[in-house]
Amino acid sequence: MDDKTLALMKQAFKQYYFKAGDKIIPPTRMSEREFGYIPFGGSMIRHLSFKTFGDLYALLVREAPHSVYYSAAYYHEPTLPMHDKGWKGGDLIFDIDADNLKLPCKKDHDLWECKNCGLKRIGLRPEKCPNCGEVSISELNWACEKCLEAAKNEALKLIEILMKDFGINKSEIKTYFSGNMGYHITIESAEFEDLDQTARSEIADYVSGRGLIPESIGVFKRATYEDLLKNLPRVGEPGWRGRLAISFKNWKVKGFDNDNDVIKKIATLYGKIRYSKFKKRLEVEALNMGAVIDTMVTTDVHRIFRMPDTLHGETGLLKKMCDNLLDFDPLNEAVVLSDELVEVFIDYSPKFRLKDQIYRTFKKEKVKLPLMAAVYLAGKGLARVI
């Protein structure tokens, strides 16, 4: 990014932080966490610690960073190197990223750029550049409204599992728009804080529907029709058994058209396709019903995670708490930068919306845009200040 554009972004962020002091909720257990930030035009600075919110806020206003993070973990000594920090426990965190959903609309808005000849195109990243044959190609992921809606849907699935199966109170589940492509969910609860990496990966697998074996719903290799009638899960049972019982309604089997004989239908199906095929089908179904999360994030106990109420350097949007996720409109509620006009040169940009304004596709043009939109494009490297 060129200096002029960097300066604009930093200035915009500074302006925001300067006024936002009372809107930022101080992190819980602040002095036990590791903080880190990426300055505009710089690289990550980690292993920081703040005793008071005042100190942290001063950093935000002074540095106006591209990104600010803190550890989900609580440490004895947050500033020491990793193995000396003394891990005490950590929030249980989940990351939902639209890009991992691989929606069909990706090809309509994602962008790639050849690192050799600089060719830029919309669509899925090709194996090699059609212009020069280069294989080293960078991609730029974009989240359209459909993408964000789909990510929200995953978050809703996750929250339901957390509430029903894990018994976590709604008030303990903090849901945030990530500021870019998805949602972050954080649980600060004594119940889960001291779980280690392996235990967390079990939770990650559970919520995403990974690792389910047919035996857990009463389907064994040599199971007879009668065994299955007895053991298959019924609607209303808790956990994954109940969840799968619901999905069985939609399984299509010849000769079974209505909802009444679901158990018989599945038992018959098993008789036809037997264990391995049934297992495959079940695995696909479980993954579908689970939430698509980035497992690494949940599992890594030393992870630093974007700080709520701070701006995302790639969009200028806020990582914002969603009080009512169902109705949350990220492209409205997370937009906080001003609408003061700035002139930028746009290389290329897909159609997008911010607040109530819809922006058309731009291609190699000079335009005057509200600051919020200019930063939204500049953060992704699509626009520069002239």
Binding site: K164, D165, I203
Partner: protein, 351 residues
Amino acid sequence: MFYKNIVLALLIELGLEDLAKYPFIKEAGEYIKKLNIQIEDLNHPDYINIIQRAKERIKDAINKRMVSKEIQKAEVDILSFPIALLIVRMCNNDYLASIYSLAEAIRIEEFLKYERKSIISHIFKTVLNIDVIEVLEDNLMHQFDYKIKIKEYLKRSTQFHELEWKLINRVVNQGYVYLKTHELIRLIREEIRKIIYNRIKNMATPKLPKVIEDAVSEISGMVQKLIINKERISSTLTPKNYPPCVNYALNTLQKGQNLPHFGRFLLSTYLLNIGKTVDEIIQLYPKLPDFNERITKYQVEHIAGLRGGRIKYKCPSCKTLQTHGLCFKDETCDEIKNPLQYGRVKSKNKR
């Protein structure tokens, strides 16, 4: 709720029989304390059958890998437990402490499987601080016996690698995991073993009365013989060109000590990679009673890529092994990044 707790407290009047079954619980300790026996008293002929029973416990552990469940006289059985611990302590042999504590843990597990629900809850609470909640008959989940908090489950279940222990393959509801009795009991074997093992390790070493001294030398003799036998076997199994980390894992296993999962993983991947068969590897695992050949076979086959995900696992790198504390570097190791390179480098250097 309060009322229910009182009823529960009344129900768990622990009889002498119970203390004999579970001599590691604090009530058994309190019972013994009340008897006010001094260590010198043990020389007295009155105590001869207690010392007999103590020795029997240890011999059972050595010969049968499980202390017998027979209780002839509850008082004798209760008292014989701390004396057995003392003898094992004084033998000062890690291998013995290991197999003995496992043998006691298995005995306890066998009793717990058929225990009254109130006693199970009581032991889980007082010994392990786990709240075990009974699932009532009229409950929707009546096919289960107990439920425990998810975190208590996960802290223990992750030591197992069979898929049935994965959280997703359990019935989970409102923060609890539902379990059948034998599953609940299986979860804590290793902890009980550790509790007994640590008690042995942390025991003071008092001046011993003659009877105990004699018992110690008798048992020590038995252990010595056992270890010589073991070493004879393991020396034929341990080619000189295995790297130190693999040899360490192998030795730990042969000594009947607990090898962490990652150690087993190293061993299996390494040996598979140098061309050993699944069966040859399973042979390396000692015939402990908790050794379930089927399960080990499954695990090794899984690693070999014959099962489950069909991923053939690679041997972990030296760096990874170092972070797991399983690396025991020697000079040859300086030149390598993966244990698999060790053999080649070693024979090259010799030439």
